[in-house]
Amino acid sequence: MKSVRLTIDGRAVEVPDGTTILDAAMANGIKIPTLCHLEGVKDYGGCRLCLVEIKGSPKVFPACTTPVGQGMEVTTNSDRLKEYRKMALQLLLSERAHICSVCVANGACELQSLASELGVDQLIFERDWPELSVDLTHAYLVIDRNRCILCTRCIRVCDEIEGVHTLDLMLRGKETQVVIDLNENWKNATSCTGCRKCAKVCPVGAIYVKGEALSSTKDKEVAKFITERRRSAFE
């Protein structure tokens, strides 16, 4: 396969054509913060945490959905990018009632720990929370839409890995929410196999397993693991 040479943060790297900037950076030990990215399923560029700069363009690009180009000069960590990332985190935290102190995910949440890592110490955006439902009907799975950041990891893992597409998004704007089957209660969702993959990959306290410590439910490697095993089975 054709390979592409570029620089990331001044370091020369060479990767196969078609690789995303994020994968190219990761393969070369350069860490870019992400939230919606999940190894093993398709990227969709929703959270905007992985923003990078490309020399010659005034715009910023999501590293997870932008493919590398010959001779590209990528910057992953300028002051402007840090500022934008903090802003994106503040927006995510302001959009819904993210009250960490009373959340099941407190201490085991990717959003919370990224905010801490990047130094988000205030939420300056005005908040106007929608009133969203919590579904407690399933025997062991719970969805609390008030904590959801709409990263769609659950939807993608249910569709692409479990292969049943129980979950999807409904409505627009701040009312957007994850629904189960055609907006059914989880108990009545006949397509759901109860595999828990959605709970394993949800980065926050939105989907979880009743009565189980979140830290033990989480396994964001699950999609990557299954895809790799499937691939090796065909080789």
Binding site: L93, A97, C100, S101, G119, D121, Q122, E126, W129, E131
Partner: protein
């Protein structure tokens, strides 16, 4: 040497942030050499004084009395610190903001629905604001120390930096919840 004049205020919070402040243990001795406490729920001063260097505020602005106090405090203070999640972003205090008529809803729940005997909403206490507000929605805030409660070590860090005339660096240190 003139001591730095420090005030602490307790608005709609659980006092956990003040407990964390006290948890600074022996640092309080160091602090006492440098600062004078001029107003606090821990000392008996009725009026918020003039000429305060640093005011540390716990809790969200939830009622009319608190609204008045925070505005006076801001006018009389050089540097205002929001201490803890309630002051920083509203936290549990602001959960009522998600409800329609949230102020009435919490009063009804607390005093009528959960009353064992003679349910009634007290009429002589200061009225609740429609919504509970984090400090920055009402007044300008100079420093934020998130956490529920913020760890004592983080309070010590921020105070040490401010007393030394430096700007606290919160990357990797600030944490909600």
């Amino acid at each position: 040497m003139n001591k730095v004049r420090v005030a602490t205020i307790w608005l709609s919070g659980c006092s956990g942030c003040h407990m964390s402040f006290l948890d600074q243990d022996e640092f309080l001795m160091e602090l006492a050499k440098l600062v004078q406490f001029v107003y606090s729920p821990l000392i008996d001063v009725k009026e918020f004084p003039e000429n305060v260097d640093i005011t540390i505020v716990e809790g969200a602005v939830g009622n009319e009395e608190q609204l008045e106090l925070i505005e006076v405090a801001r006018k009389r203070t050089k540097q205002l610190i929001a201490l803890g999640d309630c002051a920083v972003h509203g936290n549990v205090t602001s959960l009522r903001n998600a409800l329609r008529e949230g102020d009435q809803a919490v009063l009804k729940r607390a005093y009528l629905e959960l009353a064992d005997t003679t349910p009634q909403i007290p009429s002589e206490v200061t009225p609740l604001l429609k919504k509970a507000h984090p400090l920055h929605e009402i007044v300008e805030v100079d420093h934020f120390i998130p956490g529920c409660p913020p760890p004592a070590s983080l309070i010590t860090y921020v105070l040490t930096e401010l007393l030394a005339g430096r700007k606290p660096e919160m990357e990797g240190k600030a944490k909600f919840g």
